[in-house]
Symmetry: C2
Subunit: 337 residues, 2 copies
Amino acid sequence: MAETTAVGARRATLATIAEAAGVSLPTVSKVLNGKDDVAASTRAKVLRLLEEHDYVPVGTRRPANETLVDLVFTALDSPWAVEIIRGVVESGLDAVVSSMANAPHRERWAESLVKARRGGALLVTSQLTANDRRTLERARMPLVVIDPVDLPSPDVPSVGATNWGGGLSATEHLLELGHRRIAMIGGPVGFLCSKARIDGYRSALERAGLAADPELIRHGDFHHEGGYVAALELLRMPEPPTAIFAGSDEQALGTIEAARMCGLAVPGDLSVVGFDDLPVARWSSPPLTTVRQPLAEMGRHAGRMLADLIAGKQPDSRRVELATQLTVRASTAPPRA
Amino acid sequence: MAETTAVGARRATLATIAEAAGVSLPTVSKVLNGKDDVAASTRAKVLRLLEEHDYVPVGTRRPANETLVDLVFTALDSPWAVEIIRGVVESGLDAVVSSMANAPHRERWAESLVKARRGGALLVTSQLTANDRRTLERARMPLVVIDPVDLPSPDVPSVGATNWGGGLSATEHLLELGHRRIAMIGGPVGFLCSKARIDGYRSALERAGLAADPELIRHGDFHHEGGYVAALELLRMPEPPTAIFAGSDEQALGTIEAARMCGLAVPGDLSVVGFDDLPVARWSSPPLTTVRQPLAEMGRHAGRMLADLIAGKQPDSRRVELATQLTVRASTAPPRA
């Protein structure tokens, strides 16, 4: 594609756009610089033309500070986040932490990201609208997605964890202890990581010659409340499960609380397995058997991938999954005879 | 004091320093710019002279980006951190998060902070050496300390929480339930916030006409392990307490685990109160009665104070304490008759 950042080419492109839009060159400049004194309809027309001409604003090509990047979360509402942040800090990048939940103008979020002229961005969110994506692509801002909720388009580099393998090993652990009636609480239905964990659970049951009972598969929100509600439903069934693979540590803690409300001891009456291995898993009473997601390593790896992209190096692989690992603590035991 | 940032004054100062150090003006420049090709002894001499002349490097006076600040933690090892980060993000500042534990050169940490030419810094750490302090003061970098471990010098603005009042209300809650033998697990001995919580505990006992039993006051590390070890010691005493004020949520979770190991039910056999009200307090089984520290509000308030300082406004008060509040959940109950 044509080099549009050289000053001559740039002026030519902007003049063409101004002519096509029927506005002056300064008006195009105002739109580019995010000024407010341009009519909304004019602004929309100019932006569309800029996009059609695949125009790359000059400032966005050469960031003010190449080791300064944005680290964007959907929301800063989980201990989960601090693990990722630590990893990114360890990668040596200077990360400005932000949250889409706190963005003053959601609809112009990607534009503000581009305008900040950082070297690149790490996204721990998949709530990108088609508009966001276009804005980021147009600016050619180096991007790495951490733990993608949806499978991002194959050209967006991403770092995830082996969710399917984690679901498999959690369920195999319960089968080895002798459990046969094992329930699963997944995360939100559309989440890719949740789907992979459920598929791992199913595969472990199938390998053991058991059919997955659809009644035993529930969906939470990955948070405490969702785990608590789903576990209460499961424990109140005529034939309740003897073990629950809770799909996240928060949901596992909700499951332990539901067991306590039903007068059941963990692990005596009910075995519980989490997923994540947040620090809280060690602090739970009893300490939680869980599948460790290497969150800090994911942050570190994503940070290094982004540093490479900023330096113009292409990653060896655009889709990396780091290994999960089962950590056995005290919330699982053989079922009562 | 003399204005040293005007170009003329600056050259005069640097020339004086070069002369006094017996080196050339470019050598002084190299030291100022952190270049490596200056002998260590020369570097030390020039830095000392710069300090004696109270020289303020020009760059540090006018940061590259005034809304971009550093947010420095001692370590990124607690869910605690994400609450503070959320508050700072909500204050509207762009915060580059870092951790002293990850700083590549601890001894030059303050220098790198100054060199990054950010608008200011929020410190959630009190591990500043005398050297750090001098470097930051010399650069006149606006600073706000969050939750100071030591009382910072009165001219450093800080935002904390009412630790003494929190200790008082936690203990009064246990007294109202009918407990008389109440233990306290403080944090590390030198921590100011821990001292204030213990003093609040003592004052509540005194107001109820009880003397604090030194045997019932232990010290942990504010983490899970410290609470677990101290609680086991307390529960194995010939006359164990019926309630423990654990001084932090992590220590409270360690206390609940110690109770489980001793076959004691919470709150039936032992009441437990935490401090912080991290999200994990709600997820504990049973949900934890605790003293809420307004961590996000502290981050928000500190962010606004720092923005004011960067804009040249002096804060109304340099030492702010935001209110703590007792949150009663399910880990406290009257003692067994």
